[in-house]
Amino acid sequence: MKRNRLISLLLVIMIIGLSLAGCTTPAQDSPEAPLPEAESPEVQAPEASGDSPITVTDQGGNVVTLDQPASRVVTTFYGQTYAMIALGLEDRLVAMETGADKRPIYSLAAPELMELPNVGSMKEFNVEAAIAAEPDLMLLPKRLQEHADAFAAVGIPVAICHPESQELLEEMLTMIATLCGQPEQADKLIDYYDETYDKVSEIIAPLSEQPTVYLAGNSDYLSVAPDSMYQASLIARAGGRNAASGIEGDYWVDVSYEQLLSLDPEVIILPSEASYPPEDILNDPQLAELRAVQNKRVYAMPSAFEAWDSPVPSGVLGTLWLLAKIHPDQYSIDQMRDDAAEFYREFYDFDIDPSQIN
């Protein structure tokens, strides 16, 4: 009796072990596993010169040196992948973060990326999967910089990215474009940003009235973006005042109904990735007295493309959209649609469906 149990226990362990061996071994040899070098055509190093090494300081403060422009890049965070697309460098990606199917922009702008091997995400990053893609440049967000050692140990250069504000976003774009030997691609984007923000500033400069805007959190409208969040900077750029400007914090801050009622914003904005519709707020009996609710000025940021409320390359469109929402007389939503379409055509190389911008 005893013996049988013991033996069966051992058998189970062995079976698990062997079936494991059985089901994972073939995957390694299967043709879909990336066979670098042999298969992928060498991307032509751009005219930026292939001889002199490229040196930049990354956003973790480390000096990164490449002998040649990077031609095989692995990204680990969607912000980096977006940047590669916006810079027109998406064909240099050999592996990317997991979860591409959840971000609509990939299927619109670069459907071929959906076929790339995945390396995990910020939370569960797989070092070996990244190395298996044999990159010559590894982009890591600051939160994964602990893994930089592992790549250093196998001789793969790493650049740390930390695009937490418009300035840092521009810095990252320049850094990536430079490492890929095409800094002018970043210049083009940054010029566009400068122009657009100048234009917006001109529009709002003469306005005396600045409506108060409540930028609600992703998971719950009883949380709000305090001033130090990137999201809040959109409000100021678009000519509004942050309803939560007196509240401390560097991430979504929870507020109570009473607090929200006393803030009494004129406009409520839901971020692109909000998990609830504007109707939830409009129908909430506790909030019926809010000015924003009474005037039906509760808007959800479009979610069909990218999270415009975050520091991504298309974040500038978030400011334009917000401008159209809080100052519709100065800048109409139709105009915004045209500008967005032009932006995506110019930098992402595809045509959007303007009706998806509400």
Partner: protein, 335 residues
């Protein structure tokens, strides 16, 4: 008196070591970076392989497998020792405050110093050791030095540590820091490199050696306190030593892996079921079984999905059925 069948010691070890070898080979040949068994043989025998393959093998794959081996041995042995000296089959590193202490240390360094692995590991190590020192200090202050006092002091310090962890979590940035703390408590061998393993190896080796040398005293601690004292066991000092060494062992491991659940609880039970004894042989057996479980769990963690799965999810999935089995088996023995 029913006599239960016992496998002879040599046979028992042959089986366990054989399974360990299989688990080791599976672990070392599996991962997202393709390295075949023949390539490994070539690396070991000095044959021709691609440069990157050799580097991945020596810098990542082998260290990770060795870390899994060390973690299993350490947590399995420590679990058995805790259960013996606390005379409690459910004792685990939690009971004396190592785990909450290490979590607190890791949380402090994540929130205050950022989540670089080395600072986090140092923080976890210091936190684990500190909380245990406070526990021992608390026992010193109390008039009674029985094992119950240790357990109570462990609960007190563990609760204080958890309260501080909650405070830190409250102030942590939910996007990055909070997630990092949560992730740390689920454990992972994903960021193991050769240099990290080499950093903790001396501490681990030292504590392992100490535990092996003190094996006879650990056995004596299984007796009642009066009997142990009357057999000349210097109870206070020996307890201090043994707890210190096991704490060092556990802290050195979890400082770089994060918390790995259930191993310290489950492997001693399997070892006892197999050996039908509880002595130092069982302690070693418990370590080897822990190593087998972690090797399998870690191999699954890195190959089931393309992303890494936290290892505690898998060790718990493996551990819970064993505990349930143990629960029912116990009832059967009583009736």
């Amino acid at each position: 008196m029913a006599k239960y069948f016992r496998l002879p010691k040599a046979a028992l070890f042959s089986v366990v070591l054989f399974l360990l070898l299989i688990a080791f080979v599976i672990s070392i040949t599996h991962g997202q970076f393709p390295i075949s068994l023949s390539e490994i043989l070539a690396i070991v025998t000095g044959g021709e392989v691609k440069d990157i393959t050799a580097r991945v093998f020596f810098q990542l794959r082998l260290p990770r497998t060795i870390m899994a081996l060390m973690a299993g041995i350490g947590l399995g042995m420590a679990g058995n020792i805790y259960q013996t000296i606390f005379k409690n089959p459910l004792a685990s590193p939690d009971i004396i405050g190592v785990s909450p202490g290490a979590t607190l240390g890791a949380a402090v360094s994540i929130v205050l110093l950022g989540s670089a692995t080395l600072t986090m590991a140092t923080g976890a190590f210091i936190g684990g050791i500190m909380v245990v020192m406070f526990v021992l200090f608390l026992v010193r202050l109390s008039p009674s030095h029985t094992m119950t006092t240790y357990v109570l002091a462990g609960i007190v310090m563990g609760s204080i540590a958890r309260a501080f962890i909650m405070i830190l979590k409250f102030f942590a940035d939910p996007a990055s820091e909070l997630a990092a703390i949560e992730f740390w408590t689920m454990g992972s061998l994903a960021s193991i490199t050769a240099s990290k393993v080499l950093t903790i190896a001396p501490l681990f080796g030292l504590s392992l050696l100490g535990v092996i040398l003190l094996r006879r005293q650990i056995d004596l601690l299984a007796l009642s306190e009066d009997e142990a004292r009357m057999l000349g066991v210097r109870l206070t000092q020996v307890r201090l030593f043994v707890l210190g060494l096991t704490t060092l062992m556990v802290a050195s491991i979890i400082s770089i892996t994060g918390l790995i659940g259930f191993i310290g609880l489950v492997s001693p039970h399997i070892a006892r079921m197999m050996h039908q004894r509880n002595n130092f042989t069982t302690t070693i057996l418990s370590g080897l079984i822990g190593a087998i479980i972690i090797l399998i769990a870690d191999t699954l963690a890195r190959s089931l999905l393309q992303s890494e799965i936290p290892i505690s999810i898998l060790t718990s999935l493996i551990g819970v059925p064993v505990l349930v089995y143990y629960m029912f088996r116990q009832k059967e023995l009583r009736s």
